[in-house]
């Protein structure tokens, strides 16, 4: 595939022709970048002196005003881990069904897409209430890391399915025909050819979902809960980084220092994830020459 046909590069060359002397055109990106820089700068300024090894490993004391965020990092990791371990297999299976088995414009696919779009647009607090009613009460998991992880899984499912389906569709038809020509069965072509080729796209979607999960507060207040103790089992309640920030800044007098430290860690994690995402997409484009756009 030639470079000229790639939409991003075409876009970039169009940008070069823009008349940069027009002040309005300049002002908008400057303003956007400035707001972003100001925000990141303030978080770094307030939180930098908080981040230390002891802060990252110790348990919080005095309602989080002293001590660290060790158990909170552990709970966050477990919740996000359960979320991905549940959502990823479901999302891969659904995307394979939509992209490989069902006719692209069939009624079933249209209905499924609409449902997924609706699911993607649902406010996260609704997932929280659903998770509380279904996982915590009906299934009896209570306020637990398990309830929280499963609730987040239902929330990021549409994002994962969207990006995995896209990356499967981006694999050229030749690959499927060549596989069939070699006498491979359809499941074998999917498992051995299509999914490996689509894997950087699957990873990119996963990182995107992970970012959404890490930033979530509303869906977790009623599911994984508020307890800041080191979790001993998946049925223990566990507080995530976002909930810790929310609680320190809203309910604890004198909690703004550690809140800034925790926010800085959260922002750093999200920046690293986003960096990894861009890097993976770049590698994938170079290796396969396939185009892939993200539709979160």
């Amino acid at each position: 595939m030639s470079e000229a046909s790639q939409p991003l590069l075409a876009h970039r060359s169009a940008l070069r022709r823009v008349d940069w002397s027009a002040p309005a055109v300049c002002a908008i990106p400057v303003a956007v970048v400035a707001v972003m820089a100001w925000m990141l700068g303030e978080i770094a300024w307030l939180g930098a002196d908080k981040l230390s090894w002891t802060f990252l490993t110790e348990a919080p004391r005095n309602a989080g005003r002293e001590g660290g965020i060790g158990p909170i990092i552990a709970s966050t990791g477990l919740i996000v881990g359960i979320c991905l371990a549940t959502a990823l297999p479901l999302a891969v299976a659904t995307s394979v069904l939509i992209a490989e088995y069902l006719p692209a414009h069939s009624r079933t696919v249209r209905v499924m897409r609409t449902l997924l779009d609706v699911l993607a647009a649902v406010p996260s607090i609704v997932f929280g209430v659903f998770g509380y009613a279904f996982f915590a009460l009906a299934l009896g998991f209570g306020f637990s890391i398990l309830s929280g992880g499963l609730t987040l899984a239902t929330m990021i499912l549409p994002i994962l399915i969207g990006s995995i389906e896209q990356s499967l569709r981006a694999v050229p038809l030749d690959m499927r025909i060549a596989g069939a020509g070699l006498g491979m069965t359809r499941p074998a072509v999917i498992a051995r050819v299509l999914l490996p080729l689509a894997s950087p796209g699957i990873l990119a979607g996963t990182l995107l979902g992970l970012g959404r999960a890490l930033a979530e507060t509303a869906a977790l207040v009623f599911t994984s809960g508020y307890v800041a103790r080191m979790p001993e089992s998946l049925l223990d309640s566990g507080r995530t980084l976002s909930i810790h920030v929310f609680d320190l800044s809203m309910n604890v007098p004198g909690g703004s220092g550690p809140a800034a430290g925790t926010t800085l860690l959260l922002v750093l994690l999200l920046l690293v994830l986003n960096g990894a995402l861009l890097w993976l997409i770049a590698i994938w484009r170079r290796r396969t020459g396939m185009s892939f756009t993200l539709t979160p």
């Binding site: 004391r61 309602a63 005003r65 009460l137 306020f143 398990l146 508020y226 089992s233 609680d247």
Partner: protein, 275 residues
């Protein structure tokens, strides 16, 4: 193909075993679940920590969601104790409130201000800018500078609730967040009026900060008057139960209302009720 399946099983089976063992919770300890007010949650959590240190076999989990959720959970038997940061409503007379702390709201002005006491009507008139000059209250401070709390602060809720105001009614000159920020703003402005948590204001006024606590409806704004319930703008912090409670629950309720927690209450700028 077979090798592939064995590999898959080699990864999946230990993972499954790990998950099952991780899901099984420990059964050898007594657990208490508290749900409700997010204002009380951090205080209750500190009290719970202290209690767990003294009673190793008890584990207390705190969950938020608001006072009313705590009440609903208590009625449905989903929690052991509800945390409710207000008086119980008449419709909640089936429940028992154990007040373990009181949170008061103090109106503060600059220490040079001649005003000693304001009525609730005066404060409504000032905050809605119906009266805009200190001369209305016998002071020569000029135009009144109104300082309000930012959205989402518990003190703002208490202020609105007590004076029967809604956010659009209030026309502030300045909006602040932390209690300390409000105190600094008033200390630095001869014409300002603001409101903060009473124990913070009292502590700072005692320690030479240039503010004065104004009496409300003829009652002096002191920690004692909050503790004995005579000060009007107070909020109860309650632990709420229904009917008979278990021994563990009763032991924790007793602990939360004992002298042992006073140091914790201080750090949250609330006071224990005198009894």
């Amino acid at each position: 193909m077979l090798g592939y399946r064995i590999k898959l099983a080699a990864v999946a089976l230990p993972l499954l075993a790990l998950t099952v063992s991780a899901i099984q919770a420990k059964a050898d300890e007594t657990r208490l679940l508290l749900t409700g007010s997010s204002t009380i949650a951090p205080i209750a959590e500190e009290i719970a920590h202290l209690y767990e240190e003294k009673n190793q076999d008890v584990r207390i989990d705190i969950q938020t969601g608001g006072s009313t959720k705590g009440v609903i959970d208590q009625r449905r038997g989903l929690n052991d104790i509800a945390m409710v940061s207000r008086r119980l409503k008449p419709s909640e007379s089936d429940l028992t409130a154990h007040t373990f702390a009181l949170d008061g709201l103090a109106m503060i002005v600059h220490e040079d201000n001649a005003v000693e006491d304001l009525s609730s009507d005066d404060i409504r008139a000032i905050y809605t800018r119906k009266k805009t000059d200190w001369s209305d209250f016998g002071d020569d401070g000029g135009e009144i500078i109104i300082i309000n709390k930012s959205e989402g602060r518990a003190t703002l809720d208490l202020f609105l609730d007590h004076f029967g105001l809604i956010p659009p009614d209030i026309k502030p000159h300045m909006v602040i967040g932390e209690n300390e920020q409000g105190i600094k703003a008033v200390a630095g402005n001869r014409s300002a009026i603001g409101y903060v948590a009473i124990s913070t204001a009292f502590y700072d006024a005692e320690h030479g900060v240039a503010i004065k606590l104004v009496g409300l409806d003829g009652v002096l704004a002191t920690v004692e008057n909050v503790a004995n319930g005579s000060y009007p703008a107070i909020r109860q912090l309650n632990l709420v139960t229904a009917g008979e409670v278990s021994k563990t629950t009763q032991a924790f309720l007793d602990f939360a209302q004992s002298e042992a927690v006073h140091e914790i209450l201080d750090t949250f700028h609330v006071v224990a009720p005198s009894r």
